[in-house]
């Protein structure tokens, strides 16, 4: 009875899901050249987004460039965590710990104890975070499943609490004046000099009518405290580079080893895959990407980090981003990361209710599409096969 009454309500959503899968499949079957062209156009659009400021999408109550920067940071995090969760099948509930490690390494190196330029500190931050990943992973990756989740959960909190209590790391007041990335073509000299190589005006919209706004320009490659857009561009570029690396490694022997390990660890061992080493590699790579994102965050517009930026809640949010997007699909992870950051910012006008609505949206998604918005091709294939079996069984039941 309950089944028949819930079916009609579920129908349109399910149909929407099927239509969406169909669109994704159609796109996947397009010739490589067409796909590449679409991709280039999309990337160009994504770069230009904070200057185009399209209506509806643009956040009104908070600087849109800053929101886009946050989206890119979360997308990068989700991409890293996707390697751990989606590829290798390891549940990491303390990913914020790596983000914090990267952020604090940059903070300490460029402001608190030394005064390195950002671009020297960045590779060190990535290396330190990777090492942290190995140190955490080496003893813990021998345990499986739930235990790993618990250990990583603890790790995330340990990092935060340590940072909060160690004077050398700024304790609870955090680290400020973290170096911005080095400007090219002269840094900004407030109040009038914007620096950079050249200035780009942005669009202003009156309803749906655009006009060029020459009062608010963005200086290309100038990293100051006023404009978030150059930071966004830099981070987006890093994201695209990581995306290429991710693609390369996923289609290699390493990617196949991860996949086998995720599906059946014992069977993978029997095929000759040293599963522990590959799990550790996934952990280290995920950590490095998380640390990289943290480094960019620390040297962002505000140039400030504090222990309160690394709450446990964020680890959960990152996992949600990967799951909502579709664990195992790099585009899904990016989409998930962007949505998880963007939606609460976009709906700020609903004030306190926005988190409630956000939670409801996540719950709806979990029920409607447990496989995520953009599941990997493999998951779609399995689902389709199961659907066919269910349909065949359904027909059988009608005949009886």
């Amino acid at each position: 009875m309950s089944q028949t009454s819930s079916a009609p309500a579920g129908r349109p959503l399910r149909r929407l899901g099927l239509w969406w899968d169909h669109v994704v499949d159609r796109f996947g079957r397009l010739p490589m050249a067409v796909k590449l062209l679409v991709l280039v156009l999309v990337v160009a659009l994504v770069y230009a987004l904070p200057l185009l400021r399209p209506p509806v999408i643009t956040t009104q109550e908070i600087d849109f460039g800053g929101v886009m920067f946050g989206c890119a940071a979360y997308a990068l995090i989700a991409l890293g965590l996707n390697i751990v969760i989606g590829y290798a099948g390891l549940l990491d509930l303390g990913y914020i710990g790596f983000y914090a490690t990267g952020a604090y390494t940059v903070g300490v190196l460029t402001s608190f104890h030394w005064h390195w330029p950002f671009f020297f500190a960045l590779p060190v931050a990535i290396a330190v975070t990777m090492l942290t990943g190995v140190l955490l992973g080496a003893p813990t990756l021998r345990v499986r499943g739930d235990y790993l989740a618990i250990v990583t959960l603890g790790f995330g909190e340990i990092i935060r609490i340590c940072v909060k209590n160690i004077e050398w790391l700024g304790a609870s007041s955090g680290i400020k004046d973290i170096a911005h990335p080095n400007s090219i073509g002269g840094g900004p000299k407030p109040p009038f000099e914007k620096g950079g190589l050249f200035s780009i005006p942005r669009l202003e919209w009156d309803g749906f009518v655009p006009s060029v706004d020459r009062d608010h320009t963005t200086a290309f490659l100038s990293f100051g405290a006023v404009d978030a857009v150059p930071y966004y561009w830099l981070l987006l570029t890093a994201l695209i580079l990581v995306l290429f690396a991710d693609r390369l490694i996923k289609s290699s022997r390493v990617g196949r080893a991860w996949e086998a390990t995720r599906e059946d660890e014992d069977a993978a061992e029997l095929m000759g895959v040293p599963t522990f080493r590959y799990k550790l590699l996934a952990f280290a790579m995920g950590a490095a990407i998380g640390g990289m994102s943290g480094a960019f965050y620390a040297s962002g517009q505000s140039g400030y980090v504090s222990p309160d930026s690394f709450l446990l809640l964020y680890s959960m949010l990152f996992v949600a981003a990967v799951i909502v997007g579709g664990a195992g699909n790099r585009w899904g992870a990016i989409l998930g990361g962007v949505l998880v950051y963007y939606l609460p910012e976009r709906f700020r006008e609903f004030a306190d209710y926005r988190i409630l609505v956000f939670g409801l949206a996540l719950t709806t998604l979990a029920i409607w599409r447990p496989q995520g918005l953009l599941p990997p091709r493999r998951a779609r294939r399995v689902l389709r096969a199961e659907e066919e079996i269910r349909e065949l069984e359904g027909e059988g039941a009608v005949n009886v």
């Binding site: 059946d264 069977a267 029997l270 095929m271 000759g272 294939r381 399995v382 096969a385």
Partner: protein
């Protein structure tokens, strides 16, 4: 002896799963371990392939001590296992599963030849080559697990209960394929509950009971043994 086990003891915590087992596998033969549920058959195979730690005893393969080698090193040496309960990769296609079987190898032409050989042994898999493995029937998954183990081009293949849960007609087919694999030159160590079929195919057989070998002999000897008949072959056969 290609594979030799001496005084092997394996524990799960404080529980002794197998106790002081010794046996050998001669190159080119089919050797079977039969026994009831929980006798330690699967534990023995898992220990041979390196998934379980040895408490005491020694395993040698082709004259080399492999007691403490990790599983992937053993695969490279030519020891490959088809796991119990259809331990295939359910989300991968048949082709990708078979590809994983050859994971440690880089000799592309030889891999292609072995792929053709597996296709010839299991025509059914060829029909399903791009199907998602998890959606196939139990018998097909069993064939895939065996085919995948052969893709490593092993010198000895360990088969864990290949007939489990299959229809009688399919069981006969699986066993005749095992004989065929052996005739093509691969040594087989077979663990089975289906004692009648296993004893018929095996050159040498051992009976496992609560972690110990209680009887050994040629396949036909044990098939004629009264106590084996009573315990594993349903009285007379």
């Amino acid at each position: 002896m290609l594979l030799e086990v001496e005084g092997l003891c394996v524990n799960y915590g404080h529980i002794e799963a197998i106790r002081d087992i010794s046996f050998g596998v001669e190159e080119g033969t089919v050797v079977t371990l039969i026994g009831a549920n929980g006798a330690g058959k699967t534990t023995t195979l898992k220990t041979l392939s390196g998934l379980r730690k040895v408490r005491e005893g020694k395993v040698t393969f082709d004259g080399k001590d492999i007691t403490h080698l990790p599983p992937f090193e053993r695969v490279k040496m030519g020891l490959s296992q088809s796991p119990e309960g259809r331990g295939i990769f359910p989300g991968m296609s048949v082709r990708e599963n078979l590809g994983m079987g050859a994971y440690t190898r880089r000799d592309k032409p030889a891999i292609a030849a072995d792929f053709d050989r597996v296709m010839a042994l299991f025509p059914r898999l060829e029909e399903r080559i791009d199907q998602v493995a998890g959606t196939m029937s139990g018998g097909e998954q069993q064939m895939l697990a065996m085919g995948r183990a052969l893709m490593a081009r092993p010198r000895v293949v360990l088969l864990d209960e290949p007939s489990m849960g299959l229809a009688p007609k399919l069981i006969a087919q699986i066993f005749s394929i095992i004989t065929e694999i052996n005739e093509q030159g691969t040594t087989v160590l077979l663990v089975e509950q289906n004692a009648a079929q296993a004893l018929k195919r095996a050159h040498t057989a051992h009976v496992l009971e609560t972690g110990e070998i209680v009887r050994s002999g040629s396949g036909s000897e044990l098939a004629g043994d009264d106590s084996v008949k009573a315990a594993y072959l349903g009285g007379d056969i």
